[in-house]
């Protein structure tokens, strides 16, 4: 017990330090690295708070995927960004004003958080009561796929829209082609070796995380991130080429999850009497939820991988 408190004692200042470095440093590379460290430390903090699902998502998306995106952006910024930075930092008054406003908002939020009632009024009791009817063991999955499935459906579409937003920046002549720059790796190098070694393991872990999500921490978002990471590694080690943006198979993979979710939602109108509802008959809800999760895992993996790959830039070879 004491050891855990000692861990907290180290963890909290470390998180603050990483956050301050990410914001305060002028070196962009250092800022990105600090941000990744911050995400990983935050994931540990979520574990300490008993929120393992959140920890998994924070590590995979907050630190991992966002980190890769930021590093990719950094690599592309190059010289032009330095020119922009040469315009100089904002004036002293502006900076002081921003600091004062930020401090005031932070103080207000801190006061509000400290004034929150204890114990916090919450819905975990209601969730636990309604969970067995769905055949699920993981309350987080129950909330995401059933009780607040509408939110999750919209979020899955939001993720797809982010990809469409990136695609909308593509140069017109390259439309329909392959995303991102061509990757090269020495065939006998470490990267190529890792690219061959890790994907089988990653795929098994990803599928396990998807499958176990019904009863324990895990689920479509975490599994999709792991599978996306596997694919990104294979692309970076030049073992596979990303699919062309015009590919029908790719587009079907992108929309499969949300489309399946919508279809099950429509079916719910007839079978359960409510849009996005699951039939009350025992044993129906869980298979449907797993079906939706399987579709979401595929679409999330494809979307995240293509978010990292970037805009279409090359004609399909």
């Amino acid at each position: 017990m004491t050891a855990l408190y000692l861990l907290d004692l180290v963890l909290v200042p470390a998180i603050l330090l990483a956050a301050c470095t990410a914001v305060g440093t002028r070196d962009r590379f250092a800022a990105v690295v600090s941000f990744i460290v911050y995400g990983l430390l935050l994931a540990i903090a979520w574990v300490r708070l008993g929120a393992v699902d959140v920890a998994l998502a924070e590590a995979a998306i907050g630190a991992g995927l966002t980190g890769v995106l930021l590093l990719g952006a950094l690599a592309r910024m190059g010289r032009r960004a330095d020119e922009a930075a040469a315009a100089g930092p904002p004036g002293r008054t502006l900076r002081l004003g921003a600091a004062a406003l930020g401090a005031a908002v932070a103080a207000g939020i801190a006061a509000a958080v400290l004034a929150l009632p204890e114990p916090a009024p919450q819905l975990s009791g209601a969730v636990a009561e309604a969970l067995p009817a769905l055949g699920l063991g993981n309350p987080v999955t129950g909330v995401l796929l059933a009780f607040r499935g509408y939110d999750t459906l919209l979020e899955a579409v939001v993720l797809l829209l982010a990809l469409l937003g990136i695609w909308s920046l593509a140069p017109d002549p390259a439309w329909g082609g392959l995303p991102g720059l061509r990757h090269r790796a020495r065939p006998e190098g470490v990267l190529a070796w890792l690219g061959r070694l890790l994907p089988p393991v990653g795929i098994v872990v990803g599928l396990y995380v998807f499958w176990v999500g019904a009863d324990r921490p895990g689920g479509a978002f975490q599994a999709g991130t792991i599978l996306a990471a596997v694919w990104i590694l294979a692309v970076m080690s030049a073992l596979v080429e990303p699919p062309a943006v015009r590919s029908l198979a790719l587009r079907l993979a992108l929309v499969a999850g949300p489309a399946l979710f919508l279809a099950v939602g429509f079916a719910g109108l007839g079978l359960a009497g409510a849009f996005l509802g699951y039939p009350a008959a025992a044993g129906w809800a869980k298979p449907l939820i797993l079906l939706v999760e399987a579709g979401l895992t595929l679409s999330i993996a494809a979307t995240l991988a293509l978010l990292v790959a970037g805009t279409p830039e090359r004609a399909a070879g």
Binding site: A111, L116, A130, F147, L153, L169, P258, A272
Partner: protein
């Protein structure tokens, strides 16, 4: 049959159908996406009318999604305000979809293009997001709907790939994300304090305290950034001016109204008792500043689209006069909830008029290849229908009878005088005069007998689209009773009694 219609899942379909269309459009590809989108858009007014009938017959429509009642599940709720906004949205989007064929439908013999594919799923997603906002009864779900809206709207700004549009879109994205973060922080505080985010339950449970106050302030600030209220308007003129005209029409007419709609829900439905005089006066003051600054800036623009964008900034200001005026001097007014109704009618009539104006600007760009106001001599002869539509829409912006804008501003004005708060009447009247100034300034060269050098001809049926919108904006003023009665269904008591 009548029963079947009254019980239909119209609210759910209004969100699900656009999203289904968006998902189908991607695999269907750029050659067919526009056909699918137009087909789905055409269903919009029908669904919205069915929902209106449902509301008319059975009162406020509530849907527990998945069969899970709030607070465990998420509820959709359609009252008169929702339905009026949904109807406006469906009409404006239909018109925009038809007009957008000029720029985004594939040309014969041409393969899939980037903009030709992406525009249509983005437009459908935008429509789904707007409907989700107008139907949402859960503060976190409204956050998700706002995210959907932002991520559909921002790429539409830069879909033509012009560098200045990309810069404007990025600035828009940063403001919108700042707004989202502030809103989300507030929602988290409300959940921590009350254990629910369902608007109806929250309104019943709400306790004043530091968490509630802070949440209200954060969410209001976030929503103001998304609504582009002065002084958080900096992103709006460049984004709305740089976007393709069809996108500008939707952005100016509807997207900024969505965050304003949530602000109305927050102040009038969630925390009407907590909204003090100070807060309402501050919002009214910022609205006044927006009216004056936006109108003056609109008067000074050299380009048509920028002038229309600054006019949006000014017209949004009127919406915020609702807050200090709501409930004042009710007994001395012909209609109850006069200021609130006036504000909502203003939102609707401005949506119709502004969409018409931007679509006309799109036709001008098509015909002339530029939108420099001074070089538009002879436009009236080249495309008389479009110029007439612009004039009609301008009538509504100025608030001249008979138009929706007149009824809206008249209701707001009456509320100001009846409640003895005459000082709010000053910006309204000044804003009307300034609007007359900038509308006349935009029309003047078009109506002058210039030579009209080399206009590319624009067919009458393209010009008819903005005309239909402008006529609707006027018609709102001829038959204001119908929307008024609709708005009374499920209206917050605070709309009549006032805030605080």
């Amino acid at each position: 049959m009548a029963d079947g219609l009254a019980d239909g899942p119209w609210a759910e379909l209004l969100v699900a159908l656009p999203l289904a269309g968006m998902l189908l459009a991607l695999p269907l590809g750029g050659r067919q996406a526009h056909r699918l989108a137009l087909l789905v858009l055409a269903a919009g007014p029908v669904l919205a009318l069915l929902l209106a009938a449902q509301l008319w017959q059975g009162g406020v429509v509530g849907v527990a999604l998945g069969g899970f009642a709030a607070p465990l599940g998420i509820a959709l709720r359609a009252d008169g305000l929702s339905v009026l906004m949904l109807l406006t949205t469906a009409v404006v989007l239909c018109a925009t979809g038809l007009a957008a064929r000029a720029g985004f439908a594939p040309r014969p013999g041409q393969g899939e293009t980037r903009a030709g594919l992406l525009f249509w799923p983005l437009l459908l997603a935008l429509w789904g997001a707007l409907n989700a906002v107008f139907l949402g009864n859960d503060l976190f779900n409204l956050y998700v709907a706002l995210e959907l809206l932002t991520l559909a709207a921002v790429p539409l700004v830069c879909i033509e790939g012009k560098p200045e549009a990309v810069a404007a879109a990025l600035r828009y994205l940063l403001f919108a994300l700042l707004g989202s973060v502030l809103y989300l922080l507030g929602a988290a505080l409300l959940y921590g304090a009350h254990g629910t985010l369902d608007i109806t339950l929250l309104a019943a449970r709400l306790q004043p305290g530091p968490a509630t106050w802070m949440a209200g302030a954060l969410m209001t600030a976030g929503l103001l950034a998304k609504t582009a209220l002065y002084p958080l308007h900096l992103w709006l003129p460049p984004a709305h001016a740089a976007a393709p005209a069809a996108a500008s029409a939707v952005l100016s007419a509807l997207v900024v109204k969505a965050s304003f709609f949530i602000l109305l829900r927050l102040w009038f439905d969630v925390m009407p008792a907590l909204a003090g005089l100070g807060g309402a006066t501050l919002l009214g003051g910022l609205g006044t500043a927006a009216i004056l600054a936006g109108s003056l800036l609109a008067l000074r623009q050299e380009r048509l689209k920028l002038a229309i964008a600054y006019s949006t900034m000014a017209q949004l200001g009127y919406l915020f006069l609702m807050f200090p005026l709501a409930g004042g001097g009710t007994e001395a007014q012909p209609w109850s909830a006069g200021a609130w109704t006036g504000g909502v009618l203003h939102a609707v009539s401005h949506a119709l008029a502004k969409a018409a104006m931007f679509l006309v600007a799109g036709l001008v760009l098509q015909a002339a290849g530029h939108d420099r106001i001074r070089a538009l001599q002879g436009l009236g002869r080249a495309m008389p229908v479009a110029v007439f539509a612009f004039g009609l829409a301008g009538l509504s912006l100025m608030g001249l009878p008979p138009s929706g804008g007149f009824v809206a501003k008249w209701l707001l004005l009456t509320a100001a005088l009846a409640s003895g708060q005459w000082w709010w009447a000053v910006p309204m009247l000044a804003g009307g005069l300034l609007a007359a100034g900038y509308v006349f300034r935009l029309l003047n060269p078009a109506l002058s007998a210039g030579e009209g050098q080399g206009w590319r001809p624009v067919r009458r049926r393209w010009q008819a689209i903005p005309l239909a919108l402008a006529l609707l904006s006027v018609a709102l003023g001829l038959a204001p009773l119908l929307p008024y009665l609709l708005l009374g269904l499920g209206r917050s008591p605070a709309a009549e009694e006032g805030l605080g």
